[in-house]
């Protein structure tokens, strides 16, 4: 897949999401299931790497781009993340024109559906990551901790890395 095609795919996916990880289900469907140019393990790796580096959560798209097409792919990921941000100012003006209610309803619908898709995708990604029962325990405990407390994701990844060093 060329960097341009990858940019177009990333952009389509990013434009339909309202949070960093909401793009995962769509990217998995396209790159893993339809095109077969990315594996679930690589997708998991991209998520873990993006959690270990500064910046927004959606940055995992850049790592996915790197896995699929090298540095041009990574650049396609950066461009696809940056493009919708340019729309933020025109959208803020649209909100002030009085279409806020409809726009807010549409956003809520997309966010809720994205969450449903994320849960399904997470369940489908879990078997690749749970190579031992202890990994499965980490997935469940980490998800519950993150859902019920205000802990930041980086602590889950850091704890996982420490467990990897201690339990090897």
């Amino acid at each position: 897949m060329t960097a341009l095609a990858l940019y177009w795919l990333f952009l389509r996916v990013v434009l339909l999401s309202f949070s960093g990880f909401a793009t995962v289900p769509l990217l998995r469907e396209s790159l893993v299931l339809d095109h077969g140019i990315l594996t679930d393990t690589q997708l998991n790796d991209a998520i873990a790497i993006s959690q270990s580096s500064p910046g927004p959560l959606g940055l995992y798209v850049v790592v996915v781009g790197h896995f699929v097409a090298g540095l041009p792919g990574a650049l396609a990921g950066v461009m696809a993340l940056a493009t919708p941000a340019v729309l933020a100012t025109p959208i803020s003006r649209l909100l002030l024109r009085g279409n806020a209610g409809t726009l807010q309803g549409a956003c809520s619908g997309i966010v809720i559906a994205s969450c449903g898709l994320m849960v399904i995708t997470g369940i489908r990604l879990a078997p690749q990551a749970a190579v031992t029962p202890w990994h499965a325990v980490l997935i469940i405990v980490g998800a519950v901790l993150l859902a019920l407390t205000k802990i930041t994701p980086v602590w889950i990844i850091a704890a996982a890395a420490v467990l990897g060093l201690v339990l090897r």
Binding site: V119, I123, A129, A143
Partner: protein, 239 residues
């Protein structure tokens, strides 16, 4: 430094100018709501309209190269020293309020808008605040530093990981992968909770329908989101 001035007579509103409360925001010119607002000229405008007027004036007032560089530094520090949007937003808010004349309400308003724009919320926030402080030039620069710097770090880690043959790195990465799935699932629930609090019944139906569609039907997930957005515009819009 920046200040609010009247769009009609360029005077400060508290220096004898009364236009500011009657001024029509640029977005409403010629619209029905704009005409309605002229009919109620004596009514004070909502705060958000004033902020918007303030933004347009402030943008042109903040174009000094030194100020732009300093603001760009704040965006750079926020994006390169913090993991995740929450920490970066908090740091940026503190710096822009302390050194660049924005109020906490300005940053919060931009944050609220960034949440309803498609794509990465943090980059949208950078664009809005950059535009406010230095127009489109600073907005584009803020997006560039906010995405390129952390992306370079992530790609560097990915390259090091791909080239590593160390079993220690492989073990750590296997656990980090499990942690990544945990974070992903936790993020989904975190994102869903406030939406379900706002729309308990309809929201639950939407989430359940999306799960069922993705699980059982051979449908394109983009189509699921487009349908959810259309249905949300009808059934989830605030009354």
């Amino acid at each position: 430094m920046w200040f609010l001035i009247c769009l009609v007579c360029s005077a400060k509103p508290f220096d004898g100018c009364h236009h500011i409360l009657n001024a029509e925001p640029p977005g409403l010119a010629g619209t029905d709501s704009g005409r309605a607002s002229r009919g109620a000229a004596a009514q004070p405008r909502p705060v958000s309209i004033l902020i918007f007027v303030e933004t347009r004036v402030a943008s042109s007032d903040m174009d000094g190269p030194a100020h732009s560089r300093s603001a760009l530094g704040a965006f750079l520090r926020a994006s390169s020293l913090h993991i995740g949007a929450a920490a970066a937003t908090a740091s940026l808010r503190e710096e822009l309020v302390r050194d660049h004349g924005l109020t906490p309400q300005d940053v919060d308003a931009a944050y609220a808008v960034s949440r309803v724009t498609p794509g990465t919320n943090l980059l949208a926030l950078y664009a809005l605040l950059g535009h406010r402080l230095g127009g489109w030039t600073l907005a584009v620069k803020a997006i560039a530093v906010g995405s390129l710097v952390p992306a370079s770090v992530a790609v560097l880690i990915a390259i090091l990981y791909s080239r590593s043959t160390s079993p220690i790195i492989a073990d750590v990465m296997a656990w980090a992968r499990a942690g990544g799935v945990a974070v992903f699932l936790g993020a989904a629930i975190r994102l869903l909770r406030p939406q379900l609090a706002d729309h308990p019944r309809v929201g639950a139906v939407f989430a359940f329908a999306a799960i069922l569609a993705a699980w059982l039907l051979p449908v394109n997930l983009c189509a699921v989101l487009v349908i959810a957005g259309t249905a949300g515009a009808i059934w989830l819009r605030p009354r």
